[in-house]
Symmetry: C2
Amino acid sequence: MINQKNVELGRRRSSIRELFEYGKKRKAEIGGDKVFDFSIGNPSVPAPAEVHTALKEIIEQTDPVALHSYTSAQGDFSVRKTLADYINKRFGTSLTADCLYMTCGAAASLTIVMNALLNKDEEIITVAPYFPEYKVFAEHAGGRLVAVDSADGTFQLDLNRIEAAINCRTKAVLINSPNNPSGVVYNADDIKRLAKLLEKYSHKFSNAIYLISDEPYRELVFDKDITVPYIMNYYARSIVCYSYSKSLSLPGERIGYIAVSNKMKEFEEVYAGICGAGRALGFVCAPNLFQQLVKRVYDKTSDISIYKHNRDRLYSALTDYGYTVVRPDGAFYLFVKALEEDARAFSEKAKQFELLVVAGDDFGCKGYVRISYCVAPDMIERALPAFKALAESYKQK
Amino acid sequence: MINQKNVELGRRRSSIRELFEYGKKRKAEIGGDKVFDFSIGNPSVPAPAEVHTALKEIIEQTDPVALHSYTSAQGDFSVRKTLADYINKRFGTSLTADCLYMTCGAAASLTIVMNALLNKDEEIITVAPYFPEYKVFAEHAGGRLVAVDSADGTFQLDLNRIEAAINCRTKAVLINSPNNPSGVVYNADDIKRLAKLLEKYSHKFSNAIYLISDEPYRELVFDKDITVPYIMNYYARSIVCYSYSKSLSLPGERIGYIAVSNKMKEFEEVYAGICGAGRALGFVCAPNLFQQLVKRVYDKTSDISIYKHNRDRLYSALTDYGYTVVRPDGAFYLFVKALEEDARAFSEKAKQFELLVVAGDDFGCKGYVRISYCVAPDMIERALPAFKALAESYKQK
C-alpha cells in the first residue's frame, strides 16, 4: 500500500475545482456565454505591459548560461536586495536581502514556513473563512490547523475567539488579508491587539508564537482610504508570505517570497529552518527568469480597475436583489449569504440558473457562497438577471 | 523551539556548496583564472538557440491571461500529450497524457514521488555513489534511504548487494543513470535482472516495490553505442523522474516531469498519490511559460559536444598522470580515485594546487573525488598542470 493520505488528497478534488470542471462541461453543452462561472480565482486581467517588455529584454540582454542557472536556494542576492529595499521604503522596515527567501509562489511560501516552524502535533490557528489548502499544508507538515470563526457579520478578527484557541501547542497564527473568500481587510487596531495577545501567550507558555500573513491579495485593494497593515510593524515574530500571482496576473508562473522580520531574536534560527524546509521539500530555487522579472517590475500591478468595477456592480445589484453581502475592501471575491441554511444546496440551486458559486463550507464557514468576480464585466451583466431570478425563486416559497 | 531538523538542514550546507563558496572567495583573492573550480554541476553551455526563439514567440503570440494562468495541477494537457507522444515514439511505450505529471524539476519530481509512495519508516534503496539530497528527501517523506555499494571497480549495479538490502519495508529502488557522480550508464542486462528481483520480492512480501529512475542526465551521453535503458520497458512498476535542467541548460527554471508506467495494475492509485503529494507539498503547478516551452523544444538539447571534449581531454590526461578513473559514459562528472585513503584530505590537498574537487564521502562512496567538467575547455587546459603536480606530490612521498 502506498501512502493513502496522499492518494486520498489526489483523488478528492477541491469543490472549487469540481465546480470549475462542471462549468467546462456545461459550457460545452449549452454554449460558453450561457454559463456564468464565478467558481475560480484566476486573474482575468492580463499582466501589465511592463511584464512582457521586461521578459523580452531579460531574454535578449542576459547571458543565457547566467540567466537560466541555479540561483542560491534563497534566491538571487540582487533580486532579494531590490525587494527588501522596496519593502523598507514602503513599510518603514529595516529588512536586508537576507531576510527574504524567494519561492515558487504563495503555496510554496506557506508549506516552507509551516515545515520550518511546526513540530509534530503543534497547531496553527487561522480565521474562518479561510483558504481550504491551509489545512492540507499544515497536516502535511505534521501539525494541525485550528480554525476560529471571524466576528459575526463583519468577518473581521474576533480576538476573544482567537485567545480561546491559544494553548501550549500553538506555534503560529495565520491570517490572510485581503481575505479569500470574504474580501475583508483586517483593521490595524485588531492587528495591534492580536500582537499583544501573541506576546502575552508566547511569554505565558515560554513558547514563541509566530504571526504569518498570507498576502497574495495585498495589491488588490480598491479604495484609497483602506490600507492593509504590515504585520512586521506590529509584531516582532512576523513572517510575510507574498506572491505575485494576483498583483501581476502570473498565477501559473509560481513566483513569490517569504520575508522574515529581523526584529525577532531567534531570526537566524527561523531563517535557517526556512532554508532547510525549502531544501527538504525539493524547491531548489524559485524560477530564475521570474526572479529577474520581479526585480524589474516589483512595483507594478495589473489594471485592477476592472475588479473594482466588477465589485461595485455586483455588490450594488446583489444588495438590490435582497442578498446580504459584506462589502469587500479587496481581493476579487464576494462572500454572499446563501438564501437557505445549507449553502451547498443553495450552490446546487444556483446551477439551475447556470450560476456557478462555491459553497462556503470548504472555507470553514457555513451558510455563505463565494463569488469570484475576476471575470469579464459583460459576463456579470449577463449573469445579473440569473442572480435576480435565483433570489426571486426563494421569495416565491 | 521550531522544527530543529529543518533548522539543521538549513544551517548545514552541502560540502559541494561549501567548496563552491570557498572557490568564489578564493577567486576574489587571487584572480578568477587562477582557481580551477570543478565543484558544481551547473551546465556551462548555453540553452540551445531554439529555447530563446521559442520563449519570445510564446510571449508574443499567446494571450497573456492564458499564458500565465494556472494550469491543472498535473500540467497543461496539450503539453503532457506532446511529451507522452514523444516518449512513446522514442521508447515504444503506450503512455497517455494522464501518465505524466509536470513538475518544478528533478528535485520536485523526487520529493513528490517519495511522498506519494512512502509510509512511515519504509525504505528506498539506492546505489552508491548517489546524489546526497536523496537522503534529505526520503527522510522528509517519513522514510529512510538505504544505500548499497555499486559493483567494485565499475560502479555498475551490484544485484547481490541490492538483493541483500531488500526487506518487507522496501518501497522502492531509486537509480540514477547516467550517474551523478560516476558518469556510469547502467547496462540493460542489469536492469533486466533488477526488474526480476523486484518482481520476486514484491510477490514474496506481498508489498509492491517500485523502480524509480532519476534522469536529469539522460540526454548527456557521448558515444553512439551507449543507450540508457528505459526502465518502463523492463518493469511494470516504473516511475521516471525527468528534468530539462541539464539537457536544455535550464537548471534555474525548474521544469521537468514524472512519468508513471500505465502497465502497473495500481496505476490510478499511484498517479492519485502523486497528485496528492504535489498538492500537500505546495507545488500547485509547474511554471506555465516553461511548460509551453518544453512543448516546443522537447527534442532539442544543448551542444553537448563540449562536455564530450572535456571528458575525453580530462580522462586521457588524468589517466596519463597516474590517476584511476572509470571512463564515464555520460553526465558531466568524472569520479576519480583519491591518491590517499581519505578523500576529504585529498580534496583539501588539491586546494593547495587551486583545484576544487568534491570528496565522494557525501555521495556515499569513500576514497573518490568528483570532478564536474561542465566548465570552459580553457580552464581544463590551465588546470592540467595542477592535476599533474598534485599527482607528483604523492609520488614524492
